[in-house]
């Protein structure tokens, strides 16, 4: 049974002319749409399109400036998360809100039951929880500690937490961003079970393909306004993308691999006592004019590997060779000077100094160049001109108004980082989740920039959770699992199922150069 057949005409949730303004920013403008019982409604939109604002109004974190929301025909009291929860609206945030040192059951009870009554109700609660997880296919052991669970399991706990409160409407904020393809399939089947029982789901996503897979209808937001409401049966990816960005997306063409000389090689590299995941015996070769991707569920050592390749940490065994020269214990400075462009995963915390200006952030890696400082004095005029030029070339919007880099939107912060590192004709690009959280417009710009760099002869190393992105850009693919790196596979020879299995540690082969 498809969710479609189950959808009834009666709206569960009605949003009528909701508007919200922050200062000069019209975050939501006159939004009107409804959610039917047993329906999956996808909410698509670029960053800053107003999705989060709307969901926060629905869930009671914000109060709308004007407009009304009706839940099952009755007005929803605004500004009160507990009222929204009480009526039956649940939300699963992108960043989970679970107590790591508590069990699954305790987390579900937290905030639901009075803490003092925990002992008496726990037996009933356990029964209800087990029944719920069987009913919807959300398997999880109620007595395990959250800290022992995988990301996919944690998400199931978040959903169960909402289900336990008998929600009628479940809001999911980019739920598949952290899942393997197999886990996504499981999630979708659980969601289908829920709608078949009459629940309604609002599904926030950037990914067009999965929107088609799960949703009945799609509401596309653009700059705070509704750009269109589409029936998934009667629309196309192109149409949605067009509505989302207001123009047709340039198609990304992957230039043929023209692998040249080895730019960077890792031979038997291990990292112990890493901040996150240790690395074991990593062998990796990055060649000029080639894009090499790393697939894997996050937390399997990708962060450690990119820090290593950016010079941020040093290896405890093995060798890093850049252009034939060992750079095993080199500093970030040395890597930057050698022509390594680093696009960090935490663009706000590591990529920029938010309190400094945009020009200052653009030169922060090469502020010592004679163009930017002479005898210790910063050359304000030159820096300003350089910044003007880069902001134009890389289309950094809002650069004129923003005093501080942190005032830019996520996509423009990423463009700032790209401008900083790519304008220097890098030999090697280390890109870590370069499009995470970006809208499709910004995404395709980032993709284009990376492929341009490849065409210009740079070696590109790409870590991403988005398999679609990896398949679009990469020539070769590795999979990472628990700090180990698989053999590399030419992109033409791999299929997504196989990669998905490898991401969970199955069929995982590593190479040993020492042999």
């Amino acid at each position: 049974m498809t969710p479609r057949e189950n959808a009834t005409a009666l709206p569960v949730l009605e949003i009528r002319s909701v508007s919200k303004r922050f200062g000069n920013l019209q975050a939501n403008k006159d939004l009107t749409f409804s959610l039917a019982g047993g329906e999956v409604l996808a909410l698509l939109g670029e960053n800053g399109a107003g999705k989060t604002t709307l969901m926060n109004i629905l869930f009671g974190h914000y109060v709308a400036d004007s407009g009304d929301i009706f839940f099952e025909g009755k007005p929803l009291p605004q500004g009160s998360p507990s009222a929204s929860l009480g009526l039956g609206i649940g939300m699963v945030h992108q960043h989970f809100t679970l107590g790591e040192n508590l069990t699954v059951l305790e987390n579900v009870l937290l905030g639901t039951e009075s803490l003092f009554a925990l002992s008496q109700k726990s037996a009933e609660a356990r029964e209800k929880l087990t029944a719920l997880s069987a009913r919807f296919g959300l398997q999880v052991n109620p007595d395990r500690l959250i800290s022992d669970l995988s990301v996919g399991e944690r998400q199931r706990v978040e959903i169960l937490k909402a289900l336990y409160r008998d929600v009628r409407v479940l809001i999911l904020d980019e739920p598949t961003a952290v899942l393997t393809p197999q886990e996504s399939v499981q999630l979708f089947s659980a969601l289908r079970n829920m709608v078949s029982e009459g629940m309604s789901i609002i599904f926030i996503s950037h990914k067009l393909a999965e929107t088609f897979e799960i949703a009945n209808r799609v509401v596309v937001l653009r700059r705070g306004e509704i750009a269109g409401v589409f029936d998934t049966q009667a629309t196309s990816e192109q149409e949605l993308a067009h509505a989302m960005v207001g123009r047709a997306l340039p198609k990304v063409d992957r230039p043929p691999a023209a692998a040249g000389g080895v730019v960077m090689a890792l031979q038997g590299v291990s990292v112990r006592q890493a901040e996150e995941t240790n690395l074991y015996d990593i062998n990796l070769t990055l060649r000029a004019g080639e894009v090499v991707g790393i697939a894997g569920v996050s937390g399997n050592g990708q962060r450690t590997l990119t820090s290593l390749l950016g010079g941020d940490i040093t290896a405890s065994a093995g060798e890093l060779i850049f252009d034939g020269t060992p750079v095993t214990n080199a500093s970030p400075r040395r890597f930057i000077d050698a022509g390594v462009a680093r696009i960090p995963e935490d663009r706000n915390d590591v990529g920029i100094v938010g309190e400094m200006s945009i020009p200052e952030n653009l030169i922060i890696e090469n502020y010592r160049d004679s163009a930017f400082q002479r005898a210790g004095w910063m050359q304000g005029q030159n820096i300003e001109e350089y910044s003007q030029e880069l902001c134009g070339v890389f289309d950094i919007r809002g650069a004129d108004e923003a005093q501080q880099a942190k005032e830019l939107s996520g996509g423009n912060i990423q463009k700032l980082i790209l401008a900083r590192v790519l304008s220097k004709q890098p030999r090697l690009i280390i890109a870590s989740q370069p499009t995470r959280g970006l809208d499709v417009g910004a995404q395709s710009q980032v993709h284009q920039r990376l492929l341009d760099a490849k065409r210009a002869g740079a070696a590109v190393f790409l870590v991403s959770e988005d398999l679609e992105e990896l398949f679009t850009l990469c020539d070769r693919l590795h999979v990472m699992f628990e700090g180990r790196l698989s053999l590399s596979m030419p992109i033409e020879e791999v299929d997504i199922e196989h990669i998905g299995l490898m991401m969970t540690g199955k069929n995982f082969e590593t190479h040993n150069y020492a042999a």
């Binding site: 920013l25 970030p332 400075r333 915390d349 309190e355 200052e360 922060i364 890696e365």
Partner: protein, 349 residues
């Protein structure tokens, strides 16, 4: 009620901020004056008169502001780099000890060289003291708040020992004080018949230099980057440890200059009470100035004025001069609250 971040705070608003804070502080303190049974208007009038109302009051206020400018700059520079230097008091006394060691006859140069020389040895001494805490912080992760604070007492006890022991001036009739700084090393008076000395000019010059340094130089760029976001600075290849160490020498050195102005300027010789807590007040000065080096000048003059004015208010109105401490403390607190309200707005819902 909750706080919501405001977009883009205007320059005018940021400049008005300290003025608003001071206004709020004076309003709050008027309650205490009423409690003490004084006429608020007259009390504040006599305070203002005692601070700025005569040639004598003005020169005294500026004399007192001089060391506060230096300790305020020391705190502003260090806090900008997120180096929590609470040891301004200790660094001040190290500066005072350094010039007492070199400047009481050991080395005598012509006046044009002697004064810069004394500043130099003081800066090196103060910088070195803060360097100890900073090296412990950067390499061993020892909390610098603890070490800088505790070193204040170590230094003060050392001064005590020296003044009661080896450095005691035999000509001082038994008072615990060191020998006078040689005449070539004294900071000369800039206003006749007042205690105001050239130390003020050095302080004003330093504020401008520090402002230029932070704003227009490579070092300032590095210090600001490290202070705002150490992780990003590290990632971008900025030598974070060296930037912090340079900051430490600068900050410790500036605090030590306050020791020079007091020993070679105001007093003429080292005693154990040359500073009534200038090092600590410097922190408040820097905060009131929003860590802006030029703002430090105004904040230091304000603090000095309050302390001087409170004395004359206390005489005229028969209220305790502790009201000065209350005013400066509430000014600081209202500065923090006002700055919160400038950057965020309160929303009721």
């Amino acid at each position: 009620m909750r706080l919501e971040r405001r977009q883009g705070v205007s320059l005018g608003m940021r400049l008005a901020l300290p003025a608003i804070a001071i206004g709020v502080a004076l309003a709050i303190c008027s309650l205490f004056l009423l409690w003490a049974g004084a006429n608020v208007g007259q009390a504040y009038f006599s305070l203002a008169k005692g601070a700025f109302g005569s040639r004598f009051a003005l020169t005294e206020t500026l004399t007192r502001a001089t060391p506060l400018i230096f300790t305020g700059l020391a705190a502003a520079v260090a806090f900008r780099a997120k180096l929590w230097n609470i040891g301004g008091e200790g660094q001040l006394y190290v500066g005072a000890m350094a010039i007492t060691f070199f400047g009481t006859g050991l080395i005598t140069l012509p006046p044009a060289l002697m004064v810069p020389f004394l500043f130099l040895v003081a800066v090196l001494g103060g910088g070195l003291l803060l360097l100890v805490s900073t090296v412990l912080k950067t390499w061993l992760r020892v909390d610098e708040v603890v070490t800088t604070l505790l070193l204040n007492f170590v230094v003060l006890l050392l001064v005590d020992y020296l003044l009661f022991g080896p450095w005691k001036d035999p000509m001082a009739l038994g008072w615990p004080q060191a020998a006078r700084i040689v005449e070539e090393g004294r900071l000369s008076s800039i206003v006749p018949r007042s205690r105001l000395h050239t130390g003020l000019l050095f302080a004003l010059g330093s504020a401008v230099v520090v402002w230029l340094l932070m704003r227009f130089t490579r070092w300032g760029f590095e210090i600001r980057a490290v202070g705002h976001n150490m992780k990003a600075a590290q990632f971008s290849g900025i030598p974070v440890k060296w930037a912090v160490i340079r900051t430490a020498i600068l900050s410790g050195g500036l605090a030590a200059c306050a020791g020079v102005t007091e020993v070679a300027g105001t007093k003429g010789y080292l005693t154990v009470d040359i500073s009534p807590g200038f090092g600590y007040t410097g922190i408040a000065v820097a905060m009131l100035a929003g860590l802006n080096p030029l703002g430090v000048i105004a904040a230091a003059v304000f603090f000095a004025g309050i302390y001087n004015g409170a004395d004359s208010m206390s005489r005229a109105m028969n209220v305790s001069n502790y009201i000065a401490d209350v005013i400066t403390a509430t000014a600081l607190l209202s500065m923090l609250v006002c700055s919160l309200l400038v950057h965020y707005r309160l929303r009721r819902d």
